[in-house]
Amino acid sequence: MLKTFRIGGIHPDENKLSAGKCIETAAIPEQVAIMLSQHIGAPAQAIVAKGDHVKVGTLIAKAGGFVSANIHSPVSGTVTKIDSIIDTSGYSKPAIFIQVEGDEWEENIERNDCLKTECNLSPKEIIQKISECGIVGMGGATFPTHVKLSPPPGMAATILIINAAECEPYLTSDHQLILEKGEEILIGTKILMKAIQVNKAVIGIENNKQDAIELLTRLTIKYPGIEVCPLKMKYPQGGEKQLIDAIIRRQVPSGNLPIATGTVVQNIGTAFAVYEAVQKNKPLFERIVTVTGKSLNSPSNFKVRIGTPIGQLIQAAGGMPEDTGKIISGGPMMGKAVTNTDIPVTKGCSGVLLIRKNEAIRKEMSNCIRCAKCVFVCPMGLEPNLLMNLASHALWDKAESNHIMDCIECGSCSYTCPAYRPLLDYIRLGKGKVGNIIRSRAVKK
């Protein structure tokens, strides 16, 4: 019996069209736009000015606080301006624009492919290195990794969980990364274990990636302490709290962080980025992006420099199909529809998905038939129908007492609703309002 989380969950069609496609290196664009806010927390502060020359890996923006991350130039060239660009939200956000000239790297970055297994740094030095290299959670939430690796006082980690579930349909970037960089990921995992001083790590991986499971199981013989745990296919297995429940059978209490269960969860992409940062001195300035869609000519996995416009990736994957109805940054369940193709790739962009016109339109909503399907599938054990009603009537205090803030916005409720009710839309609105109320209450105290 395969492990999985205990409450709720759905299984949408997988549509992993780009599975097994080797990672191609995407062409470096003529101009890149580097968003100053690519992570959760305070935006980074630009430390370059117009006309400055930068190399690949040059620090161009410093972390704007503890919960923030450094940003490095993904290209070599000249800074043309610091201006705003429309991001996935449709709003203009500040970004650094760099005109590309050649491909000159900072000297201290090791560009060879040879494996470096030994790491003699102390935990503190490792975290320092990760912080300097601007590593953030690569699964999409983009939480700065050095913050996650520094548990609050009085709490200690006992186990590291590496998230390779990749439960989102369509996306294959993590899968392909394991197949091509399995050994590096395991070394990265070892480094992370050292950083949080635990001697056990579990890689949670869904059962639809048999080749990756076999490869990792074979490789882990050389790396004692790391264990591979195949999981039953179920969305949202890649959610932090769901993965903890699936693997160590413990639930994160409402309102707490995973560290409350003695767990630190890191994405597999983060483990690879940590390997590159610590062993090769390479800051986070490129990532794997899946470009996929049912009508796309050649769905692919690309290694992309941050700041590349997504339009260029779509071109590289065969061009925009005629019948495209929606472009999504991320996966189909939690990704965000974007409004133009100039939007640059950020640290958290795991995929670009083109949805066909006939699948892009929502069906008309009708009345709730009280079937309770949303309640059954909610992985957090909430009542989405109730929360939607409370949010639509602006009953924020009741929404709060019904734990609206525990919602992880996985969208299982909206996906499953036979009346096509926009459950998550209203819950997200409620989360925003209740979050504000809670924050202002904290300020008053």
């Binding site: 939200s89 449709g90 709003y91 203009s92 133009n340 839309d425 209203y426």
Partner: protein, 287 residues
């Protein structure tokens, strides 16, 4: 017979004792209510819209009775008429305020502001604004889902289907401010209604740079400052690439309307244009 008598007597006694207890309790916990409260509540419109800032009409009446003077107390629905009635009941002075009206400061209709994408999620501006910038290139403009329409208790604001922008019914609008609170983009503003409902305002809230704003909407304020220079009364200020007309200083001369290159400044309810602008200024300053 005896049994009936006992029953009547005992029940009667219990009733009498209870009545005495109830009377004493009522005396003990008596709350004095100013009789004027009821009178004031009666003259108020009873819409309980909250436009005055108090919880309903009764709350406002209570506040009126308790406060020293009626300064700053205003029922936006009833206006000066109702407030003078309240003042006569309470024997206080009422400061007459100019009537206000909700003004929609966005002129991005379907021709001015081209749609760049289609939204077909939940029909609520609040939800759209948490999700993204909206269906057009302008991230400041009206989202057109009608949260203001739902908020209005007086049926005074409606979405014009052709322009997909809200329109305020001047007869019905009471300036309670419910739509102002409901609009997540803060487009609607309470402005002075002006003589004969004549008013001038910048119908745009876009703070983007001129070129970006213009690209998204042909009727956007580009912050060029021509109006600021033209205004003889110093009523116009340009801040963050956006002009704003102070309705306390504006004398309705309409010079700014003429110079605005994008037509972002709207003038409402003025008679058809006369060629001689000088006479118009004279007429308006008389009004």
């Amino acid at each position: 017979m005896n049994l009936i008598l006992i029953a009547i007597l005992s029940l009667g006694a219990i009733g009498a004792i209870s009545a005495i207890i109830l009377y004493l309790v009522a005396q003990k916990f008596k709350i004095y209510e100013d009789p004027r409260n009821a009178l004031v509540t009666e003259v108020l419109p009873g819409a309980n819209c909250g436009g005055c800032g108090y919880p309903g009409c009764q709350g406002f009446a209570d506040a009126c009775v308790k406060s020293e003077s009626l300064e700053g107390m205003m029922c936006p629905v009833g206006g000066t008429v109702v407030m003078s009635k309240v003042a006569s009941i309470l024997g206080k002075e009422v400061a007459s305020t100019a009537p206000m009206i909700a003004t929609v400061r966005c002129n991005g209709n379907c021709t001015n502001r081209v749609h760049t994408n289609i939204y077909n999620g939940a029909a609520s501006c609040a939800i759209v604004s948490t999700l993204y910038a909206g269906e057009t290139g302008c991230s400041f403009g009206c989202l057109g889902c009608g949260d203001c329409v739902n908020a209005c208790q007086f049926d005074a604001i409606h979405i014009n289907p052709e322009a997909s922008l809200p329109e305020v019914d001047e007869e019905k609008c009471t300036a309670c401010g419910a739509c102002v609170k409901a609009c997540p983009k803060m487009i609607i503003e309470l402005r002075k209604k002006g003589p004969k409902s004549r008013r001038i305002f910048v119908s745009c809230v876009n703070k983007d740079k001129g070129s970006i704003a213009r690209k998204a909407c042909t009727a956007a304020c580009i912050g060029c400052g021509k109006c600021e220079k033209t205004c003889p009364f110093g009523a116009i200020t340009v801040e963050n690439n956006l002009a704003y007309i102070d309705d306390n200083k504006c004398r309705l001369c309409r010079k700014c309307v003429e110079v605005c290159p994008t037509g972002a400044i709207l003038s409402l309810n003025f008679p058809p244009k006369k060629s001689d602008t000088a006479s118009l200024v004279a007429e308006d300053s008389n009004a």
